[in-house]
Symmetry: C2
Subunit: 226 residues, 2 copies
């Protein structure tokens, strides 16, 4: 069964919402509408259709979650999106804040052999330019333990794992302050009044990071020391 472009977009949005909240895999109509910049009425209608197709579990008035089949479909799209993002940055030289919109188009080009060859051409990458995992050819998605940067306490050390690709402006800023996946840092202090965070990096530079930024960066804590 071939999915329309719009249906694919819905599945991806639902996947993203489910993946971003650890506790519950349920996505609400309003959350989907907000992410897709459409009206809840349209969402509600589409949820019914996707349920009828066996892609969603739908608790009326509660929310939806992906069925196994829906999850497979969503991961196919995520895989394509992230492979193309890798291509755009590493082959074509785009900055990571320029690629989201383009990849949103490319991800809908559906030819298994194309994606297989693109994957090989890129050297079978495991992460996209934002540090997000790229599902493998069998759509396997390894678990990775991360926490939002804003959950760190003073004195703790951490490494940036991935950053939210939602806002191009934020990505541009992160690039400027060189807060990229792999960067390690030490939390000097956290301001009480606005939760802004002062961090020190290995090269000794210090930055003050606002809450808006720490909300959008996922890190893994480094138990060890320097």
């Amino acid at each position: 069964m071939q999915l329309s472009r719009t249906e694919q977009n819905y599945l991806k949005a639902i996947y993203m919402i489910s993946a971003s909240s650890v506790e519950s895999p349920e996505a609400s109509t309003n959350a989907i509408a907000a992410r897709m910049e459409t009206r809840p009425a349209s969402v509600s209608d589409m949820l019914r259709r996707l349920s009828d197709k066996g892609l969603l579990n739908h608790n009326r008035y509660r929310g939806v979650s992906l069925t196994d089949h829906g999850m497979q479909q969503a991961l196919v799209i995520v895989r394509r999106h992230r492979l193309w993002e890798h291509f755009l940055v590493h082959s074509l030289g785009f900055r990571w804040d320029e690629i989201h919109e383009i990849a949103e188009e490319l991800e809908h080009v559906s030819h298994p052999e194309l994606i297989a060859r693109l994957d090989a051409f890129l050297g079978n990458p495991t992460e996209d330019p934002h540090g997000e995992l790229i599902p493998g050819a069998q759509l396997q998605m390894p678990y990775r333990h991360t926490m939002p940067m804003n959950a760190l306490a003073p004195g703790e050390q951490a490494r940036v794992v991935c950053v939210d690709e939602g806002s191009d402006a934020l990505l541009k800023y992160l690039d400027e302050i060189e807060l990229r996946p792999g960067i390690q840092f030490y939390v000097v202090s956290v301001a009480h009044f606005d939760q802004s965070m002062r961090i020190r990096r290995e090269d000794g530079t210090e930055w003050r990071i606002t809450r808006e930024v720490t909300n959008s960066v996922q890190v893994e804590q480094i138990d060890g020391l320097a």
Copy 2:
């Protein structure tokens, strides 16, 4: 004014039909319907809309031709299509008979910077894998004098310029007999009853080519000699 995917497909089909017949740039409703595998009723409806948008000159019951604006739009799509075909063959290693359908999807991804960078990444190619010219960034399309292979007479020499990408099976066959752009040959004879052509190549090999094939290959004559 942003064109829908379907509108883009119509413009490209009309461009292709116009470009393939030297004498008249008019495309008929039936010809468009046949090429796009849709019904004449749908075509007729769309022709009216594209005319309203100033992309076509429409002589009711006679046919359509592209306006300057329509031609620009069509060339943008052709440029994208052929650049992607180049990428699929030279970067991803596809055979030339596998790429048409994929490029039909990729051609609709519309981001000027993407195409500019892809063009540079590929080394600003001037021809696609079938030998067709790729319109430049300013959509310039140089004139090239070619003739169908079936117009050659015995004793004449010619070079293959480009081949019709319409049939994947034909392309596969052309690849097997190594009748690719750039190949030079000599016409040994032409059979009266079916116009099949016997050719000899520089390496001495001889082949009998059916009319169906010579119809789909464009050549340039070599006045000179061997």
